[in-house]
Point group: C2
Chain length 142, copies 2
Amino acid sequence: MQDSALFQQLIQFVTSVHQATADMTGDIQHDAITPVQYKILEYLAVSPPQTPSSISVCMHMSLPNTSRELRKLSEKGLCEKMSDPSDGRKQVIHLTTEGQQLMENIFSQIEVRFRERTRNLSSEELEQVGQALQLLQNHVFF
Amino acid sequence: MQDSALFQQLIQFVTSVHQATADMTGDIQHDAITPVQYKILEYLAVSPPQTPSSISVCMHMSLPNTSRELRKLSEKGLCEKMSDPSDGRKQVIHLTTEGQQLMENIFSQIEVRFRERTRNLSSEELEQVGQALQLLQNHVFF
DNA sequence: ACCTTTAATTATCATTTGATAACTAAAATA
DNA sequence: TATTTTAGTTATCAAATGATAATTAAAGGT
């Protein structure tokens, strides 16, 4: 039986991550996109390509609502649909160049704040941060 | 100048944390509370006590909207207001017994899933997970 | 060929969330 | 004491999100 304190620590940690990311991204959100749309773009930026169905599953959104938001993003020129040649029912979604630029822009703003937070760390400590990220991603948040 | 790969890793990690917590909590959400209300309860559970203003700041919500959601939570019997004896303008918010029980119940459901994910880890690896959580909380997500 | 399942879309409605103005009351300050 | 600031509430409207039914079209199975 594992330590229950570890779980308490996890709850605290997850709350902190949510909070810190909200702090870092809160006032960035561009005029033109809603939070849900941002999440979709982020997902498309980090692990492309996707289909409406796969986005629907991963984002816990119904397929109709996913379809609606993808249409809005397409209308804004941020992503594109292509029909899968191997299966005419499927649509492959990817960011447009404009969409990629938007996300790179947002990511670089987040990066600035990340660097502010980690400014005082030694290169050794940064190394440890990288290892900790790796370890948690492998063992807990996969 | 620190490594840009570390930042890429961070973006991936944060996305994974959001995703994993959504996976773990997605189908729990009780009938009676909305996502925003859950966030408030979580915050009250993890770091009490709070005032409407402090909740407003930390949750990035306007004070009027915070007030509305707190009223709804009060009506549901999940939290209570008390006026601060030292300053009649301030309200101190805390969970009711029922609210605490709700959160304990939800947390224990999350804990089950956390244990599922970490079932195969040795006690040594669990120790490392704890250290990694600590390190990241101190150095990045504070 | 016929039926079923899968993938996606459109349309519609209800709920949740965000934003803002107007207001009350208690403190702080001049 | 008069004024200003702070903390909170209520009301209202707009926008975002969630849920569901109906529809289309391609693929799979009989």
